[in-house]
Amino acid sequence: MRVLVAGLNHKSADVEVREKLAFSGEKLEPGLKALLQLAPVKEAMIISTCNRVEMYMGIEEPEEAIRQVKQFISSFHQIPAGLLEKALYFHTDTAAVRHIFRVASSLDSMVVGEPQILGQVKNSFQFALGKKATGALMNKLMKKAISVAKKVRTETKVAENAVSISFAAVELARKIFNDLAGKSVLLLGAGEMAELAARHLMTNGVSEIVVANRTFERGCELAQTFNGRAVTFDLFKQEMVRSDIVLCSTGAPNYVVMKQDLHDIMKERKQRPVFLIDISVPRNVDPKVNGLENVYLYDVDDLQGVVDSNRNERGKEARKAEEIIAAEVEVFERWMASLQSVPTIVAFRQKAQQIGEGELEKLFNRGGFDEAQRKAIRQMAFSIVNKLIHPPTAALKEDAEDRDTLIVLLRKLYDLSGD
């Protein structure tokens, strides 16, 4: 079995494309199930966040798998395959393992070092595990990815000086409002990213936080942690009249805030400026809203521009992190190779056994041996066979650097074609 990564991220696709391909909420389970239906796909998990939609799979026959996965994505989301060409990327084997490690370690994030991604990877894996979509390969791979990410976090400063989306949002809010004291924040939806951004805004002086969530109880819980208050979701437009910053992450598949809504709201708030941060994918705020006076709308992609400037500083630490990942990829590769040595050893043993059995049969067919003699000869023959095959099989089991070469050699020398 081999590892395949198929997906798209903030670098390969715009938010418009990403939101169309997202496996958000109720789409995730049918998506995962449909993916596993593909013949070459043996194990799978799907990770779908604002910045990436990726499928991690254990597969046979990469070319065929890639072809079918492409087809699956285009038919599942009802998007012409031509549109996907540019957005999608595929990685196999080593490149795939490295990619997954980099994603989990937040090196592939829009904001390098941002802490949310590891949690998202964990959740996606847990979900797939719960649906029995993963097997030995994916389980081992994802556990390793999570431990690598932790290692990267503790051994480098990538996470420490991470300038997350939230920081970018705070910086922008400062350029609009100057001082955040006395400003109030409305959380539309209680997503993890929104929560984090709200926390940042709060440590930067925002005085009030209001949560409007579809499930009111969850909204209340969240509001409590901020010493804020919760309102029912249908009241959010009234709340927007009072709020200066609106963090939107409802997970709704369509626009929740329309231009006309905001036009009316702005009238009521006497044109006091409002800063809308839409971190939902698909987006929840109509982009046309940005055309209104005193309304400033930023979606996830826009915030990238804000964080880009901080990227260089993190370069050095990121390189250190890349080294950790390179080392860990090698360790994992070796483990994968050991998976391959097991069938080789089995095949080698069978071959030796067959030769032994064949020769014994020929000898015994000529006759002239009694039961005790036959037993002794058989014992001796197999002891020779076993002694001969022991050193090679031991070498294959060992975690040696040249094991891949040995496997290839052995298969060739003994003509062990097929598993």
């Binding site: 350029k175 100057n178 044109q271 006091r272 400026p273 940005n290 005193n294 826009d302 804000v306």
Partner: protein
């Protein structure tokens, strides 16, 4: 002595503008300091020039176009220092010094020779009217400069292109607020100038208003700034709208000022 101090101040103002413009492209810590120092030196010599002219003429030296534009520039610099001291708005100098220098340069070109003031205009009201008018105009000039800064910064935030001057320009809130405060200061000053002007006109010619172009333009400017203040309080016209209107208001002032100063017509023998 008078002319030399004027020329020296013009040279310093020029340096200040140069440093301020360089600061736009290359933000260093020294450039704003150099700008402020040059401007202060220029302002010092300029002040000497104005006091000297005032004493030798026996009244506020604003009775010909040369003096009027020079005094206008002086008022703008005065206000600029006040704002620098109180708010330290990033890059304010880069937007204000070119305007102030331009006025100084116009003043430099205009003939400085004096015609004796007609007796009919010799009145205490001259000083009151002119000083209030110029302080008001300086406040409006500053408001327009800050308005331009607002439009630039707003463009960065709206277009999501956060390069260029974005990081160094003040926040939108501060720019809008300062713009508003400048107009709230300028408007009453302007009102006093108009009232004192019409009283003076009544004393001199026997009627409060003669509908000559300068007066009409002043009333238009007054109306525009009145609208800015009113609409802000009632309909929330802030931000971009307020910035655009304050720039527009200032343009009517500068247009009337320049046009009439050059044409030299009407009762306002000086602008």
């Amino acid at each position: 002595m008078g002319a030399i101090t004027f020329d020296i101040s013009l040279a310093f103002y020029f340096c200040a503008m140069l440093f301020a413009l360089l600061d736009l492209f290359k933000g260093t810590k020294t450039l704003p300091k150099l700008m402020l120092m040059s401007a202060l030196l220029g302002f010092g010599f300029h002040t000497i020039y104005i006091i000297y002219a005032g004493f030798s003429e026996g009244h506020v030296p604003i009775v010909n176009p040369h003096e009027a534009t020079s005094f206008f520039a002086w008022c703008i610099f005065l206000l600029f220092f006040v704002l620098e001291y109180r708010y330290k708005l990033g890059l304010l100098g880069s937007f204000i010094t070119p305007l102030a220098f331009a006025l100084m340069f116009v003043s430099f070109i205009l003939p400085a020779e004096m015609k004796p003031l007609p007796p009919i205009l010799q009145s205490q009201w001259l000083g009151v009217h002119a000083v209030f008018a110029f302080l008001a105009n300086a406040a409006f000039a500053m408001a327009a400069g800050v308005g331009v800064m607002y439009l630039v910064q707003e463009h960065y935030v709206k277009s999501k292109n956060l390069g260029g001057l974005f990081a160094r320009l003040p926040s939108l809130y501060v720019l809008d607020e300062i713009n508003y405060r400048l107009i709230t200061v300028g408007f009453p000053l302007f009102t006093v100038a108009i009232i004192s002007g019409s009283i003076w006109a009544d004393n001199a010619w026997g009627s409060y208003i003669s509908w000559e172009p300068r007066q009409v333009w002043s009333i238009i400017s007054w109306l525009i700034f009145g609208i800015v203040l009113h609409a802000r309080l009632l309909a929330g016209w802030r931000g971009k709208r307020a910035a655009v209107l304050s720039i527009l208001g200032f343009l009517t002032i500068i247009g009337a000022f320049a046009g009439l100063a050059l044409l030299h017509k009407g009762q306002h023998v000086f602008p």
